[in-house]
């Protein structure tokens, strides 16, 4: 897939049939053919084992919440990220709240485009898919480019024991992030304590915390 013009079929992944249908309207408005992914999809590994998405679609529109019903045992963020790593373009759609962003951030490096349902229409879908394709070819928009930066773990979150409050001084000093230890590589998570500093790669050009990603963690 090298250009938007090559896309004709768009898979729609959402755990509710009504939602898939309504996303389908937008896909049709953008002159693509909607392909509804009916569940159950099972675990992420099972899904990738039994389903080659490229045989039915050229791109995908995926909702974040997939597990409220017995549809899938993973989130849309995990799915879109896995597709990205296999060079398959997909847009993640969610009405994201802060808590959800913390669950998305570990995968954000491989999710070029996040759209709120309110903002999703034929134009934003097409431009989102276009951005995905460009990024898969190595053409990052400035706010998505990765830079090596320091991450400063301030203290443990008093409400969530497996989570630390952290700041990325190279990006924004006023804003703090919540980072779950389970989302870090084991060799880094065992070192984390109050005032721990380490390096990772982050898109320091991100305008908001929703767009910020952290990856390639280094233990020193």
């Amino acid at each position: 897939m090298t250009t938007l013009a090559e896309i004709s079929r768009v898979a729609i992944v959402d755990d509710q049939p009504e939602s898939r249908k309504s996303y389908g309207y937008t896909v049709e408005n953008a002159d693509f053919k909607p392909v509804s992914e009916t569940g159950p999809l099972g675990s992420l590994d099972e899904y990738f084992k039994k389903r080659d998405i490229r045989t039915v679609a050229d791109a995908a529109l995926c909702d974040f919440q997939l597990s409220a019903r017995a549809y899938a045992n993973f989130t849309g963020a995990e799915l879109v990220a896995r597709w990205y790593q296999r060079a398959f373009p997909a847009v993640l759609c969610t009405r994201y709240e802060k808590a959800q962003i913390e669950r998305i951030r570990p995968f954000r490096r491989w999710i070029p485009v996040l759209i709120k349902p309110d903002d999703l229409n034929d134009e934003t879908l097409k431009s989102g898919l276009d951005q995905c394709i460009r990024e898969l070819q190595g053409n990052f928009i400035p706010s998505r480019r990765p830079w090596r930066t320091q991450v400063h773990f301030l203290h443990q979150d008093s409400e969530q024991p497996e989570t630390f409050i952290a700041e990325v001084p190279g990006w924004e000093l006023q804003e703090v992030l919540r980072i779950r230890l389970g989302d870090l590589p084991p060799q880094v998570s065992v070192l984390v304590e109050e005032n721990f500093r380490c390096h990772a790669r982050a898109n320091l050009g991100a305008q908001t915390a929703e767009d910020l990603y952290l990856c390639d963690w280094q233990d020193r």
Binding site: Q16, E18, S19, S22, Y23, Y25, T26, E28, N29, Q65, A68, R95, E97, K98, A99, P117, D118, L120, N121, D122, Q156, D157, S158, E159, Q160, P161, E162, I165, V176, R178, L181, G182, P186, S189, V190, V192, E193
Partner: protein, 690 residues
């Protein structure tokens, strides 16, 4: 051409020995390190009658002993070490001794010193005697010959003994204590295998320190976990530091996470000593937190022994093969770390199911090893859960005991009143009864308040769940569907604008309002808002009113914000400050329901004076009627049929959290009520400074 060499006067011995190494313990320790470097398994330091001058010190080991050349080129040479620290000893030890000056200091503690040493594999032994008084009457050190006598061995096995006699000074308790601590840090804590080193101390004068070196700090552990696996089944028990049994477990308890399945691991035992390193716990003990901490720094972690032999790197510094620290980070309560626990796993691998890597860097991580590791991890997990259950039970008991304790105090007070003279007994009893009534009233009010808070918390959690669900499904579907109607209508219906544009716009507008309400509800439970941090007060006011905009608009309420140009900030939680505003707004909206006023108005104005920020929240509603002003803050007091009576109680508590005050006037310049909140601020950001 040969010139004269530099020679030394005997005084140099004193300067290099006593003056350079004033600490006696360091000198003796140097001799113990010599034993370690000689591959000794044991080394005994005997202190005989050292409380007075004239006593003696003996250091005896079972190491490789010294050959004649080792004595001449090493032991008798000062300032040069024959030990290559990069070269390991026969038993694979890294040499610990230094250049021999500490040894000189130790040897010069007495007036005479004798070295008796039998080299490994030899039937002979060498004896070296030094009488320091011989140096008193000569000009040069080299003028005193040192005799090395060779004789048939009197020692039964290889090793060395250094005997320092006629000590020129006494040795105090602090010096012996430092020596004891240093010996513990040199010792293998588990004394297992042929390469382990175990120094001991013998001293009648300091028998407690002798015991300390023997037992090390194991007795100071708060908990000792002992788990055993036989044929895949586990038994475990935990004892306290006095040896009392605290918990016991059957196989099913430890293996509960794997539904009681047996472990496919070799037979083994696992011991873990867990320390609580704080001053309160150690207040009544002979050892200090610092001593145990430094021991933990050296030996903390779980060591692994296979058929009696230590297997590296398990338990080495930085090796946490049981993920002890990771478990602690993930769930810190009642879990040890490698710097607060020490342990060992002894494996009896009769069937050779564990395979060491060819480079001897541990075991190949096969099924048997993974299962062994899981057995140890599950045992620790069981211990953590048992400790958590005890902690929770203690907390519950404390909660239950609180009223009983109060009751006991009351009975004690009653007894004291009974002893009072008759003239004041009556008034005292009457005052006590009055106090009881008032206290009961407050207790009842608190109980109601707690119940109401619980009810409201449940309502809040449910509202957040519904908000999340409505945003995820119905709203998303309506938004996408209405987009489709608009898109297709414009494309296919010539009279779309005339017939459908308006209802489509109405649906979209309603969706936007619903979306804002849904996100507003979610934002209320944002965890960041409960963190204590700097709060910029005015931006929060603007955000809250922005959030409530659709709701206010839907009820024809206009909001006027008259905020100072300077932006004040304070420290506290945003949740507390936000709850003040949201409860004022909710209160006003309810009041408006009982008002015929059509031009509904809220006005929020702020001012700053002497580092006190003042907020006036007024409306043109009906004001406060039907309830005494002083009672509006009490929980459960409301004039509305479905009101909780908690809104203003929350305001009072939240203002108090921010070290402020709140007052109310039943009328205002707008005609309704006015609430005045005063909060001390830390500073302001002026518009010219940014």
């Amino acid at each position: 051409m040969t010139g004269p060499p530099i020679r030394f006067a005997p005084d140099i011995l004193r300067r290099l020995g006593e003056e350079l190494n004033p600490n006696l313990d360091q000198g003796i320790l140097e001799l113990v390190k010599n034993s370690y470097d000689a591959d000794a398994r044991s080394c005994t330091v005997r202190l005989n009658s050292v409380l007075e001058p004239g006593g003696s010190i003996e250091i005896e080991d079972d190491g490789d002993g010294l050959q004649y050349n080792d004595i001449v080129e090493g032991w008798l040479v000062l300032g040069r070490s024959r030990k290559e620290t990069s070269q390991l000893t026969r038993l694979g030890r890294r040499p610990a001794g230094n250049k021999g000056l500490g040894r000189l200091a130790a040897l010069r503690l007495g007036n005479r010193v004798t070295l008796t040493t039998r080299p490994r594999g030899s039937d002979e032994e060498f004896v070296v005697e030094i009488d320091w008084s011989a140096y008193d009457n000569v000009d040069l050190v080299e003028s005193v010959p040192v005799n090395i006598i060779s004789r048939p061995a009197t020692r039964s096995r290889a090793g060395s003994t250094v005997f320092i006699e006629d000590l020129s000074r006494s040795i105090g308790r602090m010096e012996v204590k430092r020596l004891a601590r240093a010996l513990i840090l040199l010792a293998d804590p588990f004394d297992q295998g042929p390469s382990s080193f175990r120094p001991t101390l013998q001293s009648q004068d300091f028998s407690d320190l002798e015991q300390l070196v023997n037992r090390m700090y194991f007795d100071d552990a708060e908990y000792h976990l002992h788990a055993r696996i036989r044929d895949g089944r586990v038994e475990a028990e935990v004892t306290d530091w006095r040896g009392g049994r605290l918990f016991t477990a059957r196989h099913e308890d430890v293996a509960s996470e794997r539904s009681g399945a047996v472990y496919d691991a070799p037979d083994a035992t696992f011991d873990l000593w867990i320390f609580i390193l704080n001053k309160t716990v150690f207040a009544t003990r002979a050892t200090s937190v610092a001593e145990v901490k430094s021991w933990m720094d050296s030996f903390g972690g779980v060591h692994l022994y296979l058929n009696g032999l230590r297997v590296a790197p398990y338990g080495n510094s930085g090796n946490d093969w049981l993920d002890i620290n990771l478990s602690r980070v993930r769930s810190p309560e009642e879990r040890p770390g490698t710097n607060t626990s020490i342990g060992r796993v002894l494996v009896e691998d009769q069937h050779h199911v564990l395979t060491q890597k060819t480079d001897r860097s541990g075991f190949i991580e096969n099924q048997a090893f993974e299962e062994l590791r899981q057995f140890a991890k599950d045992s620790m997990e069981w211990l953590a859960k048992s400790r958590l259950a005890v902690a929770e039970s203690r907390r519950r008991r404390e909660r239950q005991e609180a009223p009983t304790k109060a009751e006991q105090r009351r009975e004690s007070l009653q007894k004291q009143i009974e002893r009072a003279p008759a003239s004041i007994k009556g008034p005292l009893n009457s005052a006590l009864a009055d106090y009881d009534r008032q206290r009961q009233k407050e207790t009842d009010a608190l109980r109601r308040e707690v119940q109401l808070y619980r009810t409201l918390s449940t309502a809040g959690i449910t509202a957040a769940t519904f908000a999340h669900e409505s945003g995820n499904y119905p709203l998303k579907i309506i938004t996408q569907s209405v987009n489709a109607v608009e898109f297709r209508g414009k494309r296919f219906l010539p009279d779309y604008e005339e017939r459908l544009a308006e209802p489509v716009a109405s649906i979209r507008h309603a969706c936007e309002s619903l979306g804002v309400l849904s996100s507003a509800t979610m934002q209320l439970v944002d965890a960041d808002k409960r963190r204590v941090a700097r709060i910029d007060l005015h931006p929060v006011i603007r955000t809250v009113f922005k959030t409530f905009e659709p709701l206010l608009a839907g009820r024809d309420v206009q909001a006027e914000l008259d905020l100072t140009v300077a932006e004040p900030y304070t420290r506290g939680t945003e949740a507390a400050f936000e709850s003040i505003l949201t409860n004022f707004i909710n209160n006003t909206l309810s009041a408006f329901e009982e008002s015929a006023e059509t031009a509904r108005l809220i006005r929020v104005s702020t001012s700053i004076e002497d580092a006190i920020w003042r907020l006036r929240f007024s409306d043109n509603g009906p004001g406060i009627a039907g309830i005494a002003l002083k009672d509006i803050w009490l929980p459960g007091n409301t004039t509305r049929p479905n009101g909780t009576g908690l809104g203003l109680t929350i305001v009072r508590d939240a203002v108090s959290d921010l070290n402020g005050t709140v007052s109310v006037s039943s009328t205002s310049e707008l005609g309704g009520a006015t609430f005045i909140v005063e909060i001390p601020i830390l500073g302001v950001v002026s518009d010219d400074t940014g």
